[in-house]
Symmetry: C2
Subunit: 415 residues, 2 copies
């Protein structure tokens, strides 16, 4: 059984929003054992919607659609589906009651337009949206196939996918198992890693598919297999291959789970009962945000000082005002003092500090845009390194954060 995803909305095709729904849906379907064959983003256009759904149904069994079911005139998905599947819109009392309940404490929001959300296709199964006004419609079509129309609002879609759509799809189809295992390798460019493990890759069992996913500073190696029986045998085979890889790459494998750097750091800090603080200048809160995106981070993360203005560096982090004046904020001396300062101030085992010129303004001949200093300190050592990133502001910030987390990982793995 295979799935296609169709995301509808002019805003996607003019680049006003990034379609994050498709990736989330694909990941969840994969976990449940369903393969996504294709993702298509199209306009709020009747002809395009009709043609795309019709073609998808020739290729796959399940078509999941997001978007275009709001109450305003530019939302045409519901009417288009009705035409396509010879259905008529009827008023659904139960759906209306749900909408009333949902909007009980928002008087402005319950009105003639939201009431139209209770008009539903007579030939579809209606699934209640408990967090939004647009109901979900499930069409059973010819050849045991299914078309589902969901809201484009991410948290509404996520809730109904997890609680309703995936359980119903599992019941209707018996999915194969899809096994993915991912290891994280640091310190190798993708091509050098490919050469290093070429023989191992050549000898991989045919059923195991290998993919390289290079990120900045990390290459993820993903081993995948689709299995209809012998699940445990295949898992075992994959584990054996990963063990061989570990022998080959040693400490360069920083994780045998597909987790983010911030989650990996969190696991290690929590297990060692160590704490972290951060002093951020050019990253402006980005490192803290990544660290605190992990539930339970309060166990090891005490806090940060975002020291954007120099007065914050001197008054709060106790950076020497003369060093700041002679060396400048973007210097080894200042970034070390920032790390030491925040470590003492918040009384933590480890500290990170960043200071740099993210751009596009603020560069000089001496310190061009992209010049960044990062320091990582523990009780026993303080390492500071200079980098020069050559990208736009937000990429420079992102890479500084990623590099700082990699430096911290190295330090906490040594201690």
């Amino acid at each position: 059984m295979k799935v296609e995803i169709i995301t509808i909305g002019d805003e996607i095709l003019i680049g006003q929003i990034v379609d994050t729904n498709s990736a989330w849906i694909s990941k969840e379907l994969n976990k449940a054992g369903f393969e996504v064959e294709r993702i298509t983003s199209i306009h709020d256009d009747e002809k395009q919607i009709t043609e795309t759904i019709t073609q998808s149904l020739l290729r796959v069994d399940v078509v999941l659609i997001t978007g275009g079911i709001g109450p305003t005139n530019d939302d045409i998905t519901k009417n288009t589906l009705c035409k396509l599947f010879n259905s008529t819109l009827v008023f659904d009392e139960y759906t209306f009651k749900q909408i009333e309940k949902l909007l009980a404490d928002r008087p402005l929001a319950l009105n003639e337009l939201t009431k139209t959300q209770a008009m539903v296709p007579d030939k579809a199964t209606i699934i209640t949206n408990t967090v939004g006004t647009a109901p979900i419609t499930w069409f059973d079509v010819d050849n045991n196939k299914v078309v589902v129309s969901m809201p484009g609002v991410p948290f509404e879609m996520k809730k109904v996918m997890s609680e309703e759509i995936i359980p119903r799809l599992k019941k209707k189809y018996k999915p194969n198992s899809i096994i993915h295992k991912t290891v994280l390798v640091s310190g190798y460019p993708e091509s050098a890693l490919a050469i290093k493990i070429a023989e191992w890759e050549r000898n991989l069992p045919k059923i195991i598919k290998l993919a390289y996913l290079p990120q900045f500073g990390i290459v993820k190696l993903r081993l995948s297999a689709v299995v209809d029986c012998d699940y445990n045998t295949i898992v075992n085979e994959i584990d054996i291959e990963i063990d061989k890889l570990k022998t080959l790459l040693g400490n360069s494998i920083v994780s045998d789970e597909d987790i983010s750097l911030e989650a990996l750091i969190g696991k290690i800090l929590a297990s060692k009962l160590k704490t972290l603080s951060i002093a951020e200048s050019c990253t402006g809160g980005d490192i803290s945000k990544r660290i605190t995106s992990i539930s339970g981070s309060s166990r090891y993360f005490k806090g940060s000082v975002v020291a954007y203005d120099n007065s914050v560096k001197t008054n709060i982090l106790d950076v020497n005002i003369e060093d700041l004046q002679t060396e400048g904020a973007v210097s080894e001396s200042v970034v070390r003092q920032m790390a030491e300062g925040v470590r003492k101030l918040l009384n933590t085992d480890y500290a990170i500090a960043t200071s740099g010129i993210a751009g596009p303004m603020g560069g000089t001949d001496d310190k061009p845009v992209g010049t960044i200093w990062i320091a990582v300190c523990s009780e026993s050592e303080c390492i500071a390194k200079k980098f020069h990133f050559k990208y736009e502001r937000n990429v420079n910030i992102e890479r500084t954060t990623q590099t700082a987390l990699l430096m911290l990982l190295e330090v906490i793995n040594q201690n």
Copy 2:
């Protein structure tokens, strides 16, 4: 002239990465006057790649492809394009020199695999990738159509799109102008706004297309028109409609530019010469990150204290320890003291503070997950409000940040 985008990579269809390239490409093409008809994401699969490109070429003039041109075995786009367009791979000395130059200071990265990146299709125009090893291939195909294959790495793709592909497309085709104007409306649910402006919407000139883009706390209204002549007349017509809308909605229109809240706040603070500081607990750096994502934010943003641990709240922000014990960290009293504390500490005109339970852990009967206090203070007033968000951790954080920025906007617009 119309464009389709094809993004290639198993990692997209298993949800391991979000395809951000398509939105960026669409936005840039739109600015240049090109319309994107469809975005399709497919697997690293020869048959699927071949079929998808063939079908796209039936519909549109230009097909832009990203992904699948790395040096490892899972990258098959280049070979597939060669088969499709009857081309042969040949070694290109110039491309190789470029790769050598690029990797000059990374000895590990220049190896037999990266050398294969200099093998290029003989029937394509080769465009140098100045920031990565995979060259860009441009195929001129039948009927004056074009297929371009680019790297999937976002910053590599962005550089070559801006500097090479878009200029070449503009030269080859004479694009229509696409006009988009967007106004930001706060304080209305989407449906109530649609009712409020229904008559205005009905009377819009036919050439102007209206779209509602609801976000949390904000509805974006986008007015669009495709024009082949009379550019200024249409711009003028759109401006007249926006003026009518302003009369209708008054202060609810917070911006007549499509800019982010943080950019809007930045503009106002910079023009008023006012400064901002932030004390973040549950948002963990997210507000600071958004504020500092704006270039030039150092003019009005002094810094933040991410007070995750209670000791940071008391020791640095001067929150009363008894209040913290009796009321708890998630309370009106504490969040007000955090805002006042950081405003005094960093000596700013405005301050924001957040304290809440983002979840999924840490909730109690009294203060369930999603309970959030936000305070915004100026010299003359301090407003604190309680919210209850009902979503997953990262959405709760995101909504807290968005709400805090909306509260700040209201305060700075009043003062």
